[in-house]
Symmetry: D3
């Protein structure tokens, strides 16, 4: 079986990209040893690329009470529910690294209710899943359930925003048939 291309849509050559985008991609490549396909697939649309990663960084890299591993848990749990192969494989890798736990990503992806995570993290993921699938019904009781686990109002916003942003990302990746890089599968497993 030959491998599928990295996207249903044509992807640009790195050399042809605007300078800022090329610079970001080369920096990632320098750090990771490879270019995650999401950068190449989205680079087809420079303005969307810039906005996407600015949003991503604002949610995933900013200070806040949620640990970086917890943010990745949200990505992994909602992305599997949305059946996004790229997002589960790539962010599963990041979650394993952030949590320094080789098992956690597969557990959270398939059924976070049975994962080796804390009760507060399960409450966080319950809320993230409600945002992903029934945001219209989010109400005060949901916020109170988070508060009971020590999450602030700002944390609630963060959880919701991460679930919502990656819900967008999941849809884009699925429409584009975005292929996860082979490198992700083994990252953080040993």
């Amino acid at each position: 079986m030959s491998k599928a291309p990295i996207s249903r849509f044509p992807t640009p050559e790195i050399a042809d990209l605007p300078e800022d985008i090329r610079a970001r991609i080369l920096a990632v490549q320098e750090k990771s040893g490879f270019v995650p396909n999401v950068f190449l697939v989205l680079a087809r649309r420079p303005d969307e690329f810039r906005a996407f990663f600015a949003y991503h960084d604002a949610l995933m890299d900013k200070p806040g009470n949620l640990t970086k591993a917890e943010r990745e848990m949200i990505v992994v749990a909602t992305s599997n529910a949305n059946q996004c192969q790229y997002c589960v494989v790539a962010h599963g890798a990041i979650l394993r690294i952030r949590a320094k736990d080789p098992l956690i990503a597969d557990q959270v992806a398939v059924n976070y209710r049975k994962a080796d995570i804390m009760d507060r993290q399960k409450a966080m993921l319950d809320f993230a899943m409600k945002v992903a699938f029934e945001a219209y019904a989010v109400d005060d009781a949901d916020l109170e359930a988070l508060s009971a686990q020590g999450f602030s109002e700002d944390d609630a916003w963060d959880i919701a925003a991460i679930a919502a942003f990656f819900g967008m990302s999941n849809r884009l990746a699925n429409v584009a048939n975005m292929r996860p890089n082979d490198e992700f599968y083994m990252m953080g497993r040993t």
Copy 2:
């Protein structure tokens, strides 16, 4: 019945906002005569605000084959399916204005299959709804159905990206209990 606040979360004073954000808000107020609540609700998070509107503009204001009215149809149809009050009311107003048609927004919101729109627009909305609810199953046949209606590969990306971006926006607005400004309800109706 007293009116609900514009958000479940505190919103900043315009005077306290970073300069670029205040400038954007004042420009919108100048043009529209009021500040749409989404600007105030998101301004609580300046970096997210900047990324959100950069993304929004990249999708909604850029050149392309989809008319501006068609882009708003996508927003209205998917936002009602996601039960987002702010998005249906605000973008319904914009759709009426863009399409110069006082009836179209309510038709598209409730059931676009019965709206006074073209068959190609119904195909566009069929695809948008599949992206919104079953993106994991999007396949070549969906792209071919769009192509049969004259949509290019770039148009398919645009439709998908708009449905996905506003899917994020719908979730944020629902979690925040974002209230549509009273001004939107009558815009474009007469």
Copy 3:
């Protein structure tokens, strides 16, 4: 875009209708200034027309604790969930008039949980939605939740009957492609 016809099925001429039906239609026209399309579409079947409007009047015009605006809220909320364009547009107009509130219909249609209505009205609509989508699971706890908001057993019947009757109406209108009259869109907005 030319307008769609008022129904997928042929509609009779008013002059050809049985006397009682013609009289009712002319009375509505006299009062409203136009003939709502539902009268013409259903007149194709005189016996069904008579039963439909007798049932309608028995539920919507009779005395009872539910205000007329509240009854229309039930129609609007369930009709949007059933994606019935005719019913949302026509009864949205009636709701605005009954409630003397130009904003309420759009709010209730898209997401009643976020509308400017009372908690008891939200409880009423929670029950109506359960009747519309999970009537098989209605149990004592639902009746008790209504009772806690001051609704009697007779009110529960009324809410359920209105949700059920308009569920039928929604299905008929969708199958017939029943088109809302242009007049409804602006009624009660100013």
Copy 4:
């Protein structure tokens, strides 16, 4: 296990009912040997009772291409999908009698796709189920599928109206906890 009452709501004494309703009930009792509980449960609301049975008779007793057994198939298939115990048990009995077939009702209730019925009857029930659960998406292709099986436009209306009317009835019966009379279970089985 003692038997449940025939309704969650109080039911009137036959002697206390308006003359026309009492007459109809006594006529049914005369013909059937018992009073089906739906008559007693709905008699609590005389105007609704009259409209309900007028509608019922207009759909189920009128001339038309659909046989009476076929109309009952629609009732039984959609009522089981709506989980209405009264409707499946009572109309299952009527279907067995109309079709002179002791097996057909249980087959149609559980899975009409596997029942000993004609392909055209399966197409009729496919349409009825779409009306019951996705009426918003009914389109020309559905009407053409019926036409290919010999159903006229009037037949399509009849199928839809029966599915819609009993969808209302299913919801009312479920909310009322309407109990099927013991007599129905054995009718038409031998």
Copy 5:
């Protein structure tokens, strides 16, 4: 209407079957007066036949706190939800016999929440339905709800295992178009 065959797949002759399978089938025939079709349909695969009935007997015939009628209630309720005609008709017959109640099977099949059964049996069926449709979300609260009705941990396993095993059986029967024997329909009704 001629009857459908007992399976979409060819079924073997009893005489051609392995001795142990033929013996079991003849014993059933001796006891029941006919060979339930499930034996003939599964006999096409002798090893699967042996495992299927060993599993069946381990769950349905073993000692335990659940009565035999209660086990059949689980089969009937979940099989109707899975729309398995064979299973509802055949196990409905067995339930009537086990419970010595001619009405119970039809009640439990259509809507067990309204059946003439005990509250603890409704709790048992609530759990069985959760296993059938949302097993991923089963948690301590579900076990506690069972415990509150007097069910032990072993009873919880039994309920879950019966719901799961017949979920498999329902799928096999539906794929095979397995036809219930005519004899089942009247068993236990008089």
Copy 6:
């Protein structure tokens, strides 16, 4: 975070098990280097254990046109859809080994439509998913779609039976909170 136990229910000591069950478990341990938890969790019920593994072996180890890797694809795809952590992790490992492909299991688990597998394997999984979620609607067209990809009637049975059997297994594992052994996560990845 300490690890969860291997089951919600107590598990027996190997030394206390019936001889045939102990022998099977020791043979697996000898071959694999560890005892997969499913053996210990099910050993609590010896008769169910025997039937379960006899059924498993009849489906997974028997000759047939489906390769062993293809059978595991069915298990992995349907188990992720059923959110069964044990089954996805354990059978993902077996799939990687059978297919000699370190990437395939994660791809098939999250979204088989985008996996590096053959079109006939996607058709096989489409059918398996229909069996898992809509078996009631399986019809001749599904069998023909399989036939068009070269699958025989016996292959169709095999696919259906594997999807149905592991649907049972998924439910049991979820109710028991069955924990995947740590060893599975890395098997077949290098």
